[in-house]
Amino acid sequence: MIYLDNSATTRVCAEAVERMDRCMREGYFNPSALYGPSLEVKEEMRKIREKIALLVHCSGGRTIFVSGGTEADNLAVLGLTASFRDGRILYSAGEHPAVKEACKAVKGLAAEEIPYDGHGMVDLERLEKMLGDDVRLIAVMQVNNESGAVQPLSEIGRLKERLCPRAFFHVDGVQGFLRIPADMKAWHADSYALSAHKIRGPKGCGALVVSSGTRLAPRMLGGGQEGTIRSGTENTPGILGMGAAIDAWPGADGLREMKEALFRGLKESVPSVEVNGPDPMGPDSAPHILNVSLEPVRSETMLHALEGCGILIGIGSACASNKQRVSEGLRAMGISRPRAESALRFSLGPDNRPEEMAETVRRVREQYDFLSPYTRR
């Protein structure tokens, strides 16, 4: 099987499995307990907190362990805005629902969408016009989960510092963490969300990194764990597994080379291929996500056809009801309906091998040739 849906989730790496297994069998102690063995667990958690904060350039900041990307985003959006009674929240058009829905749920504050340009990048000119004193929070993702567009976070941070320095800036790093560098300091970001299962760690675990001095209201009340921000006994196997996955992430993961080879191959095989997002060969495109449309073959048909050949991919347009609904991320880029209904998302991980790209290209071409004559007339 060739797995090319790593933006949906990844296979847990052996190191993380081993670490979790050991934690559950031997290091199962409650980190809040007072005896020695629980202190060992606590110490390991501290090291992972520091490692994560260091990786995202947030020295002096806090790493709060949570249940995953959705909780991290919710905690950031709701926790940072809890003390405001009025004002605006700005979020980018292709944000994950975990951010969008949380922004819309904040009482008393108006939530506004920051438009994308045709390549799925935040439109900086329009953002500049939207910024003002009454902006309380800006939420922009590091990498768009559908198009792979790497958002211009440094530019956004600079704009924020100039036009609304008191606003908070939250970055959803779920699709970017480890795959491209993160720098909260350069971005002037206050919080950064990440998820373990996107980086070969376990599901049900993630973290929110919060810059030093940023006050966050708790969303989960109880025993006061995680510095009173997130009560509940810590998911120690998940956290240690996440730590192991971070350690095991290869220095040279080869993602960009493989993605470029995949794109070149697809372009040669199906010349009419259209890219949904930034130029896959350019710096604005994440190393591991390629979103293309192969009209007139519909996304789901190609997905299942490739599944039949042992290749698993994602699609850009998910049907949410009996009617096919075009994905919001693609719609925000101004992509036409037929093109969005043919969108395919290939997302790579360090477990992929270059020869898998060649096989995928061969199969896509074969299935495209077979299926493209059978289209709605």
């Binding site: 009801s321 059978y374 709605r376």
Partner: protein
């Protein structure tokens, strides 16, 4: 004293000499329904009883949906000779109720020391005296009825819970249901099964145009139906090649109709193999282009067995209501489509001409296509 469920059946009463056969089947169906919650089921004196179940609510929920059951009554059984105990139990049962009531005694044990009117009077009086004025007697239009049945024991009950009705599955033969992932076909299957008919489901699968989730959705629907029918066999028939051939060779406006005819032909072959004597579909007149009178005629002509369409006269809203009632609606509404829109013509013929249909079908290797589809069909027993 024993808590039990008294199960009453409806239409089977009307049966003559073969009533024992229907009853025996019904008892087995009730037994299957409560088997894994430890229910004891027996037939006595024209009543079916279920005892030994701890969770009476779950027992009621299950028995109510057994086809052939008219109503169920949670009852108490006690020794009939201890009349004082009977009186106390009756008063306890009516405790907390307000308004009007009557006692309805029935005595199949004709040697009992009181006759029915006397039981009515004695029990009614006792309940009235112990109700602290909250209850009044009204024998014409009472709000509550306390039933007392004197059989091998005395049975008391005050709640009659209506059940699904129909006939026990297995007493009405077997039919093949064309099951899609939509709202209508599960309802059609349910209605036919309710008349005691065993079902075999036939589903057409268009991989890669539809995926494993669409297939699973259909199996989930079949699973829900099988709760009523005590199991079901499902044929998943690969249909992509047929659809592609039709799409490539036949006139656009006739593709849906020709496809429907292929579905009927294949279903008939499977039906005969399974000993089924009819086909069941979820069609309703005029709902879509393939369900006009002309189109229904054209699909009927390819098979040599009756085609039952129980929702033929239903509005969509009525079908939806029924689907909600039987618990298939939510699953039917899951987004995975069963028949890909790629193969739906923009303007299907609503008044098809037979010569055009036949001319289109001439272009296809019919026998080979059908034979292959039947041969490759996957059989799943639920």
């Amino acid at each position: 004293m024993q808590k039990l469920l008294l199960v009453r059946y409806g239409e089977i009463y009307l049966k003559g000499q073969n009533r024992p056969y229907f009853l025996k089947t019904l008892v087995s169906r009730v037994r299957e329904a409560v088997r894994d919650i430890g229910g004891n089921v027996w037939l006595h004196d024209a009543r079916i009883f279920v005892s030994g179940v701890e969770d009476m609510d779950e027992c009621i929920r299950r028995v109510r949906r057994v086809f052939g059951v008219h109503s169920v009554c949670p009852a108490l059984a006690l020794e009939k000779d201890d009349f004082d105990l009977l009186l106390c139990t009756a008063a306890e049962m009516m405790e907390g109720l307000e308004g009007t009531f009557k006692v309805e005694a029935r005595r199949s044990d004709k040697h009992y020391f009181l006759d029915s009117p006397a039981i009515n009077a004695r029990v009614g009086e006792y309940v009235l005296e112990n109700s602290c004025g909250r209850l009044k007697v009204d024998v014409k239009k009472p709000e509550h009825v306390l039933s007392v049945e004197i059989r091998d024991k005395a049975y008391l009950y005050s709640r009659v819970i209506p059940a699904v009705g129909g006939m026990p599955v297995g007493t009405g033969g077997r039919a093949a249901l064309l099951l899609s992932g939509g709202i209508d076909s599960p309802v059609a299957g349910y209605m036919i099964a309710k008349r005691g008919v065993e079902l075999v489901a036939v589903h057409y699968y268009s991989f890669p145009y539809t995926g494993p989730q669409a297939r699973q959705k259909v199996l989930d629907l079949a699973q829900i139906l099988s709760g009523y029918t005590c199991g079901m066999r499902v044929y998943v028939v690969p249909f992509t090649r047929i659809q592609m051939e039709i799409h490539a060779k036949c006139p656009d406006d006739y593709t849906t109709l020709i496809m429907r005819r292929y579905m009927m032909r294949i279903a008939e072959i499977i039906a005969r193999r399974e000993g089924a004597m009819a086909l069941v579909t979820g069609e309703s007149i005029g709902q879509v282009a393939s369900q006009t009178m002309e189109a229904l005629n054209a699909t009927d002509q390819v098979v040599d067995m009756p085609v039952f369409r129980p929702v033929i006269g239903f509005d969509k809203i009525d079908i939806i209501r029924e689907a909600e009632e039987i618990g298939t609606y939510e699953t039917s509404c899951l987004p995975y489509e069963d028949c890909c829109t790629v193969f739906t013509p923009r303007h299907p013929a609503t008044r098809p001409k037979m010569e055009k249909i036949l001319a289109g079908e001439e272009l296809l290797a019919q026998e080979e296509l059908i034979e292959e589809a039947v041969r490759e069909a996957e059989v799943i027993d639920l």
